[in-house]
């Protein structure tokens, strides 16, 4: 019933510091059926060819953000990439660039999570709350729609050359999160948060390279969010 797409070669980054200091690439040959994603293939490799192959995954439906990795040179979620949609029959799988590798395709995301925490990523209000929901118009809600959909997969920050060179740059992921709150009409800490993202490690480190837009699996355009933050800082400084 499922159509066979034939044989594919998966060249996968392997690294286990408990076994040796160097990384290597293992190549796995796999028969792939139509409908299989890159994650399906990694799971099949782990189940039938090499049980030591290690990667993160959970929802397999592109919402949890666990399986972000570098596939054929691009950051993406392995779970929503159809093998049938890739060019050629050789698939190269690497861990997300820019982060320390723990093992195989698993990277240490702690710095990414810390960067999010640096932008005060929660709603702040000092005004009293009404008994019911705070009012917000559909237009106001639309303003933050893309930012709210972020799944913290790390693809954007990991793809940013500015981040590679300056690891203390807040980077697209954290700046998108800052945008989400600065432009939420219910939030009252805009000035404070803009001060957090102003400065040489904040928005001004963005060199408009646009790797983040290309990398985002959820099509969220962090670059536009960063531009909006820059404009807002300038607007308020006049």
């Amino acid at each position: 019933m499922t159509e066979s797409l034939g044989g594919y070669s998966f060249k996968v980054f392997r690294y286990d510091p408990d076994k040796g200091p160097r990384h290597r690439y293992d190549t796995f040959e796999l028969e792939v059926e139509r409908g299989m994603t890159v994650l399906d293939c990694l799971q099949r490799i782990k189940a039938t060819l090499d049980g030591t192959l290690t990667f993160r995954r959970s929802c397999r439906s592109a919402i949890c953000g666990s399986c972000a990795m570098n596939i054929n040179g691009k950051n993406d979620l392995a779970c929503h990439l159809q093998v049938a949609g890739l060019t050629g029959r050789r698939v190269t799988v690497d861990p997300l660039p820019g982060y320390p590798v723990i093992k195989d395709l698993v990277v240490d995301m702690e710095e990414f999570y810390r960067s999010i925490e640096k932008v005060m990523p929660w709603l702040v209000r000092t005004s009293p709350f009404p008994d019911r929901e705070l009012p917000q118009s559909p237009e106001e809600r639309d303003r933050i729609d893309l930012a709210v959909n972020c799944i913290l997969c790390g693809s954007c920050t990991s793809s940013c050359p500015s981040f590679w060179f300056n690891p203390d740059y807040l980077a697209p992921g954290a700046l998108l999160k800052a945008f989400r709150f600065v432009f939420d009409s219910r939030d009252e800490a805009g000035a404070e948060r803009l001060a957090l993202v102003d400065g040489p490690r904040g928005v001004w480190r963005c060199r408009t390279i646009f790797n983040c837009e290309e990398a985002c699996p959820k099509l969220l355009r962090p670059n536009e969010a960063i531009a909006a933050l820059k404009r807002e800082i300038l607007k308020r400084s006049v």
Binding site: D18, G35, I63, C64, I102, R132, P138
Partner: protein
């Protein structure tokens, strides 16, 4: 082994776990152990909405929400618990919004609400079709603000019970394989569901019922396990969820003849009948050969909703349909099939999350459960859509509050070192395993067998065969070797331990289904097709015995609504 001491340890960082943590923090030191980073929790995959009788879209009240929930449960829900759920709902939603949850809005700036299966009024508060995602992230952000301590990628292996009380847990740090003993005066289970016992499921790979299995293995009962919800609309072939919200927005379910098949099964509510009714309808059509092309799926048609509405209200579905089923939902109907989705049963608790130790109702000191892994019971034999996100925040909060109330009078048990040492030995034994069986083959066989023999329609022979099959797989499991014998981030070991969990509670599901000789809610016996209130208006409690689960039963708590015939 590393030793930690906390007042409260919470297992699971989904909606229920994080909501409980936000309360329990007030009572003293508190940490959350989670086997995945908090925002990877499967709460984030919930799409359609969270129910509350806010009345923003139409006139509504908690009384209607209660009746819908009780009727939806096929009268197995404990009505006092369900009343708490629906009464607290409006407050809970407003609280979430005040925390920052970005709900979709009406033109006059209020939280938007849509229609949903089994609800008599549109009360599903939603954020496009990403409701679980936005609530999960907002709760995580709130936890950051309040500096909740997380131990991420810690797999809890064992519950330590000493006498009449809970003493703590032992967990493995995935990063190093190191074992950690967490002594605690209160332990809260918020470990979610078990969809991965089945082949076609909406659930994440992580949803393997580890909490249920641990409690069961500790000698405590688990409740109503035979009630497994199959969501009517999973994508074909992946089983990934297509929200009921699509039907709430007006989508049709069509068979091969292009008919709205629900007309035959629920002429009043049509596509918005409760999930058990709808899944049975779809399965019946498929079994009768009226699936598309004679195949094992039907169609969900969104096209008449129009591109603007679909893009605005169902953007995730649009994306998933293209990526996973190669269908442009604006132009073609989506292929769908029922998919294992939710567990109505779980760890039995009182209305404040305290874990019951038997059908009689006594509770264990220091042990709590909330969210999908718990059974209060608010959902009875079938859950209405949008009531699970609600249950998680309402009962997560209540469990946290109960911890605060109880802690002053809870002593502390010294965790028996034997309990912790035994886990260490067991782990070493797992890593050293030899054998010729295959982890993935056993898992595949279990999932396929459960799908075939313990799915939507059940009967004695296949259930009996499946019970034998599960026991056979349990035996073969002991001979599964590991290729990865390292301690560092050993996900093969995690999969092995998760498979052990699956094998544990799968046996209880099948045995419970075999024992319950009636049809009620999601449990449908073709050999006992009628609901039998005289014989079976009761909750099942399964306790591990030498020959498998032993069952006890307790009556349902009926307050306002006497069981009636259930039609839609």
């Amino acid at each position: 082994m590393h030793h930690h001491r906390y007042e409260t340890v919470i297992i699971g960082a989904g909606l229920a776990g994080m909501r409980a943590a936000l309360e329990a923090q007030a009572a003293g030191s508190c940490c959350v152990l989670t086997k995945v980073f908090p925002t990877r929790s499967h709460s984030g995959a919930a799409q359609g909405g969270i129910a509350a009788s806010l009345g923003n879209a139409a006139v509504d009240g908690w009384e209607a929400h209660l009746f819908d929930t009780v009727k939806g449960s096929d009268y197995l829900a404990d009505q006092d618990a369900a009343e708490i759920l629906v009464k607290e709902a409006p407050r809970a939603i407003v609280e979430l919004e005040h925390m920052g949850v970005p709900f979709s809005r009406t033109d006059d700036g209020r939280i938007a609400q849509r229609a949903f299966g089994g609800h008599s009024s549109p009360r599903a508060c939603y954020a496009a079709d990403l409701t679980g995602h936005v609530i999960l992230h907002t709760l995580y952000e709130r936890c950051l603000r309040r500096a909740v301590a997380f131990h991420s990628e810690y797999l809890v292996l064992s519950l330590l019970v000493e006498g009449d009380r809970c003493a703590g847990v032992v967990a493995m740090d995935l990063l190093t394989g190191g074992l950690h003993l967490f002594e605690a005066r209160a332990v809260v289970f918020a470990t979610g569901g078990y969809g991965r016992a089945f082949k076609i499921t909406s659930n994440a790979h992580a949803n393997t019922g580890d909490g249920l299995s641990m409690v069961y293995r500790a000698g405590l009962p688990i409740e109503d396990m035979e009630f497994v919800q199959f969501h009517p609309t999973g994508f074909y072939p992946s089983g990934i969820l297509v929200t009921e919200g699509a039907r709430g927005e007006g989508a049709y379910i069509l068979n091969a003849a292009g008919e709205r098949l629900m007309k035959r099964y629920a002429p009043d509510r049509m596509e918005l009948a409760p999930r058990d009714v709808t899944s049975r309808a779809i399965q019946t059509e498929i079994d009768a050969g009226r699936g598309i092309g004679g195949g094992a799926y039907v169609h969900l048609d969104l096209r008449h909703l129009g591109a603007e509405k679909i893009r605005k209200r169902l953007p995730q579905i649009l994306d998933l349909a293209m990526r996973f089923s190669a269908v442009d939902a604006l132009k073609s109907p989506i292929p769908i099939q029922p998919t294992a989705h939710y567990s109505m049963g779980g760890i039995p608790t009182d209305n404040d999350g305290r874990v019951r130790v038997d059908a009689g109702g006594g509770t264990m000191k220091g042990l709590y459960a909330c969210g999908e892994c718990a059974c209060v019971s608010v959902h009875g034999a079938n859950r209405l859509g949008c009531n699970s996100l609600l249950e998680a925040v309402v009962f997560g909060r209540r469990a946290g509050l109960a911890v605060c109330a109880d802690l002053p009078s809870l002593g502390r048990a010294e965790a028996p070192p034997r309990g912790a040492e035994a886990v260490e030995k067991e782990l070493a034994a797992f890593l050293d395993r030899r054998g010729t069986e295959s982890l993935s083959a056993i898992r595949d066989e279990l999932q396929e067998g459960m799908q075939r023999n313990c799915g939507i329609f059940r009967s004695e022979k296949p259930l009996g065969a499946q019970l034998d099959a599960v026991r056979g797989l349990q035996e073969r499991f002991t001979r599964v070797p590991l290729s990865d014998r390292g301690r560092r981030f050993n996900t093969e070991l995690v999969e092995l331990l998760e498979l052990r969990s699956l094998l544990d509670f799968a046996e209880v599901i099948v045995a419970g289904a075999l024992a319950r000789r009636e049809s009620r809610g999601a449990h449908s016996r073709t050999d006992f097709p009628a609901r039998d209130d005289a014989g079976w208006l009761a909750h099942s409690f399964a306790r591990r015995g030498p020959d498998g689960p032993a069952f006890d039963y307790a009556p349902v708590r009926i307050t306002r609504h006497r069981p009636k015939e259930r039609t839609y």
